[in-house]
Symmetry: C2
Subunit: 376 residues, 2 copies
């Protein structure tokens, strides 16, 4: 199959009923490489967009940086120059909805503070754009529901910025669990934490903007790790909160530990913190074990099992993630991080906060199976 025919196949894959008509141009087999790539607009030009997503979009095969949305004119000018973005694809938060008429933009990647995810994801869906919400998906289950509904109504695809779902070490763990390489999983431990000593006014430490502290920022990694390392959704959770530097963490949780129960009796424990460094997942199985350490950073990750090291060449995780989502749109490959997965994690986040409020008692979770926990 030559490139031309492959592109033609993609066009077929992308022609499903859910695709907004004005997006079909992206798949036109016209031989223009730039046009074959889906156009991504980054909403919010903070450090993650600046240092991770924009560089990754220079490496992606199926998508490209096509637009930006920022409230800061000086950033707009800088990005315009650096990435050659035409002013017609540069928006601010007020005129953002005009992106609906911008055929260069197929995907809107919301990289704003957590409390703004829902508003901009919903506005993006209403504009007929596919949506990536950076993790955590939002600051409540209700907001996740609203985002999912808006994307369903608009017939656009929705993904959460769980880049590790596309990352080889993580996928290897999923494979080991899926294929029961070491038998059944018995116990999972997952820690995701870093020490925050920066500007105390940063949005991550402001509950109104972040929706919560370490749990929202890093804890979702631990939740994800526990679930894909077990291969099932948890059925119960208990949790505890600890505070060491309340003068710095005035408004958001500093350190949280939680314990999960899974179907079949598997136990999981997690820690997340803005006042410690830890970055690991470990799974004990009936006939072996696996470990990633670090497990959640931008890489290179490092892993091993009871039978030896896990080794993959390092690639930009964000590149892999965005190309996966583009292929999901173009070819109908699985959505590795669907909105329902982000919503599930927010159900767990809310249960963890509830357990803490209720003195650490176990909260039952009633989560349907699925969300592609172990998909390839």
């Amino acid at each position: 199959m030559d490139r031309r025919n492959f592109t033609g196949k993609m066009a077929l894959g992308a022609s499903g009923a859910l695709m907004a008509p004005h997006l079909s141009w992206a798949c036109a087999p016209n031989g223009n490489t730039a046009q074959r790539k889906l156009g991504v607009a980054l909403v919010g030009l903070g450090s993650y967009s600046t240092y991770q997503l924009a560089p990754a979009l220079e490496q992606t095969q199926w998508c490209r940086l096509a637009g930006i949305v920022t409230g800061t004119p000086s950033k707009a000018a800088k990005w315009r120059e650096q990435y050659g973005i035409d002013p017609s694809h540069i928006y601010n938060y007020e005129n953002f909805d005009a992106i609906a008429q911008d055929d260069s933009i197929d995907i809107v990647y919301v990289v704003l503070p957590n409390s703004m995810h829902a508003e901009f994801a919903i506005r993006a869906a209403k504009a007929g754009k596919h949506v990536i919400c950076e993790k955590p998906m939002a600051v409540s289950v209700a907001e996740c529901d609203a985002i999912i509904a808006a994307c369903e109504t608009a017939g656009v695809k929705l993904s959460v910025g769980y880049r590790l779902q596309s990352e080889p070490y993580t996928r290897e763990i999923k494979r080991l669990v899926r294929e029961k390489t070491f038998g059944d999983v018995l116990f999972i431990s997952a820690d995701a934490a870093y020490v925050s000593r920066g500007n105390p006014d940063q949005w991550r430490l402001n509950r109104e903007l972040s929706g919560g502290g370490a749990l929202l920022n890093m804890g979702v990694y631990s939740i994800q790790s526990c679930i894909y390392s077990c291969g099932k959704n948890p059925i119960g959770v208990s949790a505890q909160e600890f505070s060491t530097r309340p003068e710095y963490f005035k408004d958001t949780d500093e350190t949280i530990t939680a314990q999960f129960t899974f179907p079949g009796g598997v136990v999981g424990q997690m820690m997340t913190s803005h006042n410690a460094n830890a970055n690991r997942l470990y799974g004990s199985c009936t006939s072996g074990w696996f470990e990633l350490q670090p497990a959640n950073n931008y890489g290179p990750l490092s892993g091993r099992t009871s039978e030896g090291p896990i080794e993959f060449p390092h690639e930009s995780q964000q590149k892999l993630q965005m190309d996966d989502f583009a292929r999901h749109i173009l070819e109908g490959t699985p959505n590795r991080a669907p909105g329902e997965m982000g919503r599930r994690d927010m159900v767990i986040v809310e249960a963890i906060y509830r357990s803490i409020r209720e003195g650490g008692r176990q909260i039952a979770l009633d989560l349907p199976e699925g969300y592609g926990i172990l998909q390839e």
Copy 2:
């Protein structure tokens, strides 16, 4: 200093008021190597005595296997032959107290099921013998108190079988914490667990004999790890219990997780289980981290820090432990695992069980400082 003078110095060291008079022969500078070694009697000839302690006593410099106490005549015969133990130094549980008249025995090492530690430790003390209680020290704080009181009354030394306190990797962690090599400790994680699938009638799974399950057997390692990795005693603990195979673990706890708070806000988490494999301690500090994995087995252990690997030649941990206790008796070096340390851990064990009974609520701990947590 030649060997003769060194031996003489030891005799001085051993001549303190607490030393029972009939033990002084062990230090006589008569040039007889065998007599310079303190005589150890092992009480209970199960697998730990058979495969760990007796072989270690063939390597010790300051003590030797001098007697055995067993209820099984066939074991007595086998050990008599294998180790050349004179029948005059072989006891059973009924005639054990006659060991008081046996000048070959300086130290009684109680290696019986946990619920029998107190009785035999106290009988050993009353017989004027120094005592090592295998871990856990006993099955309740009250029993620990009784053992400590009996040893004080008898003027004999008391140690708990925390062999890792004498082990180089563990001592290196204590040094890193003591010297603040990586600054202040922020977070500790310690897991100690193995999968039990053997005889369901083994004493470890019988609460009447064991006093508890994974927590008593392996959990004390995690408790120890958390404390020496932090350098302080905890001020609070919460805990949860999980059961997967109740048909096998009919009588004792299978999996327990616990969370510690320490002075200054340090957080610790631990997991112990008879239904998973995990063996690790990890400490996150303000300017680095340390890890042992495995942390608690018979070795060789393996460790690393944020600055590189920790490496020591492997030696029998039990050899190091027993020689340390012998030197404590002979020379007055620090007791690396005093009875008060074992009692402290039982206070924590009881608080963990209490937290579980009370739905995971945090239990305050009022433990005095000390117990040589960070001693060299």
